[in-house]
């Protein structure tokens, strides 16, 4: 099947890729655009390691053909914070030991980012329910939940003081 040109906006930049219709968004991101933060964990939409944000939705990019994302705005872990100024979530995951092997972390933080946009003051239960599409084998989630709660608190404090 011939390749077609796909235009995307990834992390604020307009980019194009050439892909067959069957190429998954995760493969195009990782292999063509060299955005390797999102990972492949299960390929059946159960683990969430490939989570990216598309037009304000958390999406498992292993279960979307790149061609379906034509023209859309995509944010990956690489689009949150930068080396000189980490995103609050990135800082809190470090502070509260919310990661170990790091493989699920990009998807987890990207998902938590959307969760806090939609629910800036979640309860612990809200966080646990809201990240239940992201599996982690290392942490037992306890410190991930703590990290997300801490990030919410800090973001709210910043909001209150500005």
């Amino acid at each position: 099947m011939s390749k077609q040109t796909i235009s995307l906006n990834v992390n604020g930049k307009s980019v194009t890729a050439k892909a067959e219709p069957r190429e998954l968004l995760i493969h195009v991101l990782r292999e063509q655009l060299e955005i390797t933060g999102p990972h492949i964990g299960c390929e059946t939409s159960h683990c969430g390691a490939c989570t990216v944000e598309i037009d304000g939705m958390s999406v498992k990019s292993c279960t979307l053909f790149a061609v379906q994302a034509q023209g859309k705005e995509i944010t990956t872990i690489e689009g949150l914070g930068d080396p000189d100024k980490l995103h609050v979530l990135q800082e809190k995951f470090k502070e509260h030991h919310g990661l170990q092997c790091g493989y699920c972390t990009p998807g987890m933080i990207t998902r938590a980012h959307r969760l806090l946009k939609e629910n800036p003051s979640p309860t612990e239960e809200d966080v646990r329910f809201g990240i239940a599409g992201n599996l982690c084998r290392c942490t037992g989630y306890q410190n991930i939940v703590k990290s997300v709660m801490a990030a919410a608190e800090e973001l709210n404090n910043k909001e209150a003081t500005t």
Binding site: E20, P21, R22, E43, K60
Partner: protein, 285 residues
């Protein structure tokens, strides 16, 4: 896990989509949210040569409530169903059910139409639609027709939808009264081991005015439990009538042994889940 090759189409309107489907015939599949179809294609259990993506058909994305009727476009996602306050006022059982489907990411993509149309007995929306006594609108080359959700499901993955038709919307009456969607599952993201959708309304005399019961993943189709529903209306809601209604409903199920457990277990769990759903719906009525 790599799908076979296919050509991708993104029609902008439903008529365009139907025209494409008519032209391509059996080689084409319609894709909505894709969270059932894409994994199936990755296992190469489905190898369509053409995919017709409905995402650009704006007319399929809608939730409206008017004249006592709710109308939901097929491409409305579960996340949108959850978020709609208007829908929650009109039919709170929809949010309760939607929140028990898959996980947050899947609910952003998963659509009402995809969930009801593919005929997977594990999906939650079909029983919900039967419980709500929904009508499905099907558009095809010969125009539109409607089919009752309670008459739509024939067998696993077989429905009343013709291959050249697209399910465009579901309509159902606004539901007053108590509601419950009870689902036993192994974990978040799983299909039901057993699930029950129940709507009950209380009459002025404290009796049961209306009742509707449907079950998920306990046979190769969703099950609308007419007799059990009528039993509650006729006898009111009491421990004894609930037990009878449950017994009646259990006469309709036909679960199979799988990783969720042997049929014998599912029968027992289904009875418990249904009993709890009726109790909860009645407590909210």
């Amino acid at each position: 896990m790599i799908t076979g090759s296919f050509e991708y189409h993104q029609p902008g309107t439903v008529p365009d989509a139907i025209a494409l489907l008519s032209k391509l015939g059996d080689d084409a599949r319609v894709i909505a949210g894709g969270h059932s179809l894409i994994p199936t294609m990755k296992l190469r259990l489905a190898m369509p040569e053409h995919l017709i993506d409905l995402q650009a058909c704006q007319e399929l994305k809608k939730i409206s409530v008017s004249g006592g009727e709710v109308c939901i476009g097929a491409m409305t996602t579960q996340a949108e169903l959850i978020a709609s306050e208007e829908l929650h006022q009109a039919a709170p059982i929809v949010r309760e059910t939607s929140l028990q489907i898959a996980d947050p990411q899947v609910r952003y993509m998963g659509t009402l139409g995809g969930n009801v149309a593919n005929g997977d007995p594990g999906n939650d929306m079909p029983a919900l639609m039967q419980c709500l006594d929904a009508t499905f609108v099907l558009s095809g080359p010969d125009g539109e027709r409607t089919v009752l959700a309670r008459e739509f499901y024939e067998a696993a993955y077989f429905t009343a939808r013709d291959d050249l038709e697209i399910l465009t919307e579901a309509r159902f009456p606004v539901c007053a009264g108590g509601y419950s969607y009870e689902k036993q599952k192994r974990k978040i993201g799983d299909y039901a081991t057993a699930a029950a959708a129940v709507l009950l309304s209380k009459g002025g005399d404290g009796g049961c005015e209306t009742a509707s019961i449907a079950l998920t993943n306990l046979a190769d189709t969703p099950i609308y439990c007419q007799q059990a529903s009528e039993h509650l209306v006729q006898n009111g809601v009491s421990d004894a009538s609930i037990a009878d209604a449950v017994t009646s409903a259990m006469g309709q199920i036909d679960p199979v042994d799988d990783n969720r457990g042997p049929a014998e277990f599912k029968r027992h769990a289904a009875a418990i889940i249904l009993q709890r759903a009726i109790q909860q719906a009645w407590s909210r009525a």
